[in-house]
Amino acid sequence: MDLSLLLDPFQGEMLPVGDWSQSLIDWLVINFRDVFQALKQPIDFVLTGLETVLRGVPPTILIAVFGLLGWQVAGARVGVIAAVCLFLVGAIGAWPHAMTTLAIILTAVIFCIGVGIPIGILASRSDRFEAVLKPCLDFLQTIPSFVYLVPVVMLFGIGNVPGVIVTIIYALAPIIRLTNLGIRQVRADMVEASVAFGGNPRQTMWKVQLPLALPTIMTGVNQTIMMSLAMSVVASMISVTGLGQMVLRGIGRLDMSIATTGGLGIVLVAIAIDRVSQGFGRTRRDRGRRQWFETGPVGLLRRLMGIGRDAPDPRR
């Protein structure tokens, strides 16, 4: 053996990982393109529906609805913050782009919840599954998001729907992790009590474990939303429209004005939906021991109509 090869064994390619991945993706594209195209259908359906609604409804009405929703789930202060943020988005001239971005994010989050929560539940019930899943999630979270743009484009093409898919890949991990964690953190005697009174595993999950894990799960949803938003600029590289595209165009042309508008739009949307989505994780105790329908605009409406006054408090 030649001494120079011994001292520097990396002259040739020892592990041609690049070639392997190329072959794999080629093989997938040739044999399974139809499958991947079919996977786009449900995402396309949801995305189109959401985008039509968000861009079709007049901004004033949408701002009002969003403000009221924020008030209902997280209190008046958050309602005002959400409405003001959205108003500013419109004021800086980013409204249509923001609505496209919002539609993409909401679609990604819906699918993340639909896939992530069941996986999280499974992980919480099986230590073995959790042990297999953990390194996969670590991998998902450490791999730079640019890396999977290529295979996604090869398999799904470009545009908003593939954009939703990369966003799902990027934002899926926290909801799985926090669902698993939330269920595992439920006090053991709460679960034991359910079993001791004859609850089967399904009843114990739905009536005890999931409700008690809900605040943690909602933290996961919030994280997923924030990560989806962070993905919007990266996703614009595969022709995803919206606020991210404004930023990307700004970078390409060194156009400060359009980059600022897009960037500020992302920040404002982020603040609005972060605050509102955090409100969904509030427990009854956080609301001052009142049911959700006793607070916010619904509570106000009920009080105005005189509903719900028939149950006297035994302490008074």
Partner: protein, 375 residues
Amino acid sequence: MTTSRSGPAGRATGPEGDPFGNRASAHVECRNVWKIFGPNASKAFEAIRAEGLGKDEAQRRFDCVIGVADVSLSIRKGEIFCIMGLSGSGKSTLLRHINRLIAPTAGQILVGGRDIARLDAKGLQTLRAKTIGMVFQHMALWPHRTIQDNVAYGLEVRGVDRATRRKIAAETLEQMQLGGWDRHYPDELSGGMQQRVGLARALAADPDILLMDEPFSALDPLIRSDLQDQFLELADRLQKTTLFVTHDLDEAIKMGHRVAIMKDGAVVQVGTPEEIVISPQGDYVERFVQGISRLRFLSAEQIMQPLGAAPAPEGSRTVRPTDRLGPIIDAVRAGGGCAVVRDNGRPVGKITYDGLLHAIRSYSPGAGPSATEEE
């Protein structure tokens, strides 16, 4: 209250044991129950069986912990059976075998004569929902459910309709003096009230058997004492077979018709509170009992002296041989310093101030038989 209470099988069960003299009267029965925790439980069990391994040895060689070691118990219908031991003695583990929250490594659990290991999943759920109610140390009320939904959980999982559930929950809460709290949430109640809800939840399905895992130990002393009295009253009325786990011997003596003392997973003594306190078996139980006042078990029979030649003084009162200290003191005081013990009218002995004080002295906690310093 304890002394006047009579057990379903009668308090006067001597050392000969079960007054019915057969096993059929056993409502809950453990036969040679073992529970070994750890990855190599079955191997460890074989070694323990074959070589008589101790707990340290089992820990070292097999990384296993002995939870329950060869426990055989027979609990009668309607009896309050206390399982007393320090933490780590296996008492809560043993309790969880009765509704199979924990499956034994070896041995059998019989409830109403049926081996519960033979039940399928459905049968086991029915047993837990209908036949056995459980109360937990830290209440374990679900904070997201209203009081009525907590209480009616066992009915809910069995598919009982909402109206019936609410009605039963309201009745059960009423019984626990918690009427009107139905729609509130656990965090709005004090600790004592929460545990009454815990008890209502256990009683809602009208089970035959109650499992109570240190139910009152998380409460402060006055509330604990109140709840103990309340439970005893309730137990007298409902006559449920109760397994009551506690680490407090005073509580075990107050609550139990019989008491089992556990140490390192094994039962070291079973008996009536009186038997445990008056004749503890072995150093371990003796050490426990030292701090306990035996006065409550003192009867006229034990204190009385022979009548002697001299007749009882004028105006002396009469007590029965089984009377406890309170009535005796009243009788001695009212009778001018002397009371006559009569068994069915026939005088069998007398009790004087002197005899009374002597008995109290020797039965007080920590008093050795020769503790007099009259040198």
